[in-house]
């Protein structure tokens, strides 16, 4: 059987540089990629399916919303949300594309990947995490506005009932 040889020139031409050998994505990075993917898909679904007029809603003082600062705060948030909507959509769509690129290159993170892929996977977490935090902040502020107004209503009702009780009691 003839031996197969490789010359030095061929060996060097083919030799991969050890320092740049691909590596499996670290566990934490892998979790981050899945989290980012779930976040991006969920966010995009929300942005696509949520009626846009929701952000055009403006609250008015009176009715349930008694306190003017909470009304102003809510309206500001709606305004910012409405203006940021196209940018958020584009950023998250781009990020989703890059995430799918990371998953494709690393075959679902099953095979080792080169260093730039690791950096890309880490960078993907930033817009996703910021989007989640922003969405959570908006929801929390709106919930807080409702709670504050509920508390205001409770105080008013308590005061009114106390006054009524006091009047009826004095009679």
């Amino acid at each position: 059987m003839d031996m197969e040889y490789i010359s030095l020139a061929q060996l060097i031409h083919r030799a991969p540089v050890y320092e740049r050998l691909p590596k499996l994505l670290q566990d934490a990075l892998r979790r981050s990629v899945w989290l980012s993917l779930i976040t991006e898909v969920a966010l995009l679904l929300v942005l696509v399916w949520m009626p846009h007029h929701v952000f055009q809603t403006r609250l008015h003082q009176g009715g349930f919303f008694l306190l003017e600062p909470t009304v102003d705060l809510s309206n500001q948030l709606f305004k910012i949300g409405y203006e940021a909507l196209p940018y958020l959509f584009l950023i998250n769509l781009g990020n989703l594309f890059l995430l799918l690129l990371v998953l494709t290159i690393s075959l679902g993170m099953m095979i080792p990947a080169r260093e730039p892929v690791h950096w890309l996977a880490a960078a993907n977490a930033v817009p996703a995490a910021i989007s989640v935090a922003m969405l959570a902040a908006v929801i929390i502020v709106l919930v807080a506005v409702v709670i504050i107004n509920l508390v205001a209503w409770a105080i008013i009702i308590f005061v009114v009932l106390s006054v009524i009780g006091a009047v009826l009691g004095s009679n």
Partner: protein, 248 residues
């Protein structure tokens, strides 16, 4: 007439034995043990057949170029270019020597041999000097008693650890993204439920892994002379390196 040819042939063989390059076997470090265990003959006297005349100019060309460019090439001697794996017991470890095309590591990397950047650069200097070798053999230092001659060397014995610099950066990226998501989780949890910090254990550390010691040999193969059914070859030391200790 035949007698005359026979005399000429004997004279030629005698001249070749005298003129054939003799290896200046290094006597420092692990070289004597390595060369002895690899059964490389420093001179042609003990060879069953003399080398071809065409090999001498090739050898001289190689050494002359190497000296001119101050390359660390070293002529080691003669041995057949064998096939399969040969395992030689060393002082504290065994040496598994094989044609690089039969190396488990070479095959694992899709017929490519990974090597440190500096080693690749040094080897490129060799080819840039106009020197090439017909074949490359690799000797892997392995733990004693695990592999016998003729057996394939298990990949885990020769597989280098992941590159430590890249590993450190990959771990840092992992920790960073973990912290980012943890921060987002904390922000939402703290805002909604006003609960305290959740513990998160991200342990990093280093462990010492065995460092392997591959040695590369370049061969000028004498295709006209066979010993033990294999072509005779002039063996040269090319380079060697240590894989760095793994960082996890």
């Amino acid at each position: 007439m035949n007698r005359r040819i026979d005399v000429d042939e004997r004279q030629r063989i005698a001249r070749m034995v005298l003129e054939a390059p003799v290896a200046d076997v290094p006597q420092v470090g692990r070289w004597p043990v390595l060369l002895e265990t690899l059964a490389i003959q420093p001179a042609t006297q003990n060879l069953p057949v003399p080398i071809s005349t065409g090999m001498v100019p090739l050898h001289n060309h190689t050494l002359e170029r190497a000296q001119r460019r101050r390359l660390p090439l070293r002529f080691l001697g003669y041995a057949p270019a064998f096939s399969g794996t040969r395992v030689y017991p060393g002082a504290n470890s065994d040496w598994a020597l094989m044609n690089v095309t039969e190396d488990t590591l070479f095959k694992a990397f899709n017929n490519r041999l990974p090597m440190p950047k500096a080693v690749k650069r040094d080897l490129m200097r060799v080819t840039q000097a106009g020197i090439d070798f017909d074949a490359i053999y690799v000797a892997h230092e392995i733990a004693p008693g695990i592999v016998r001659s003729g057996e394939n060397v298990p990949l885990d014995l020769v597989m280098p650890p992941p590159p430590p610099g890249f590993t450190r950066r990959a771990n840092a990226l992992g920790d960073l993204t973990e912290s980012l998501w943890w921060g987002v989780g904390q922000f939402i949890t703290a805002s909604l439920l006003a609960v305290g910090l959740m513990p998160l254990g991200v342990a990093t550390g280093t462990f010492a892994a065995a460092s392997y010691d591959p040695v590369l040999f370049g061969l000028h193969i004498d295709k006209a002379r066979y010993a033990q059914g294999r072509p005779l070859a002039l063996w040269y030391y090319l380079t060697h390196w240590y894989w760095p200790k793994a960082a996890k």
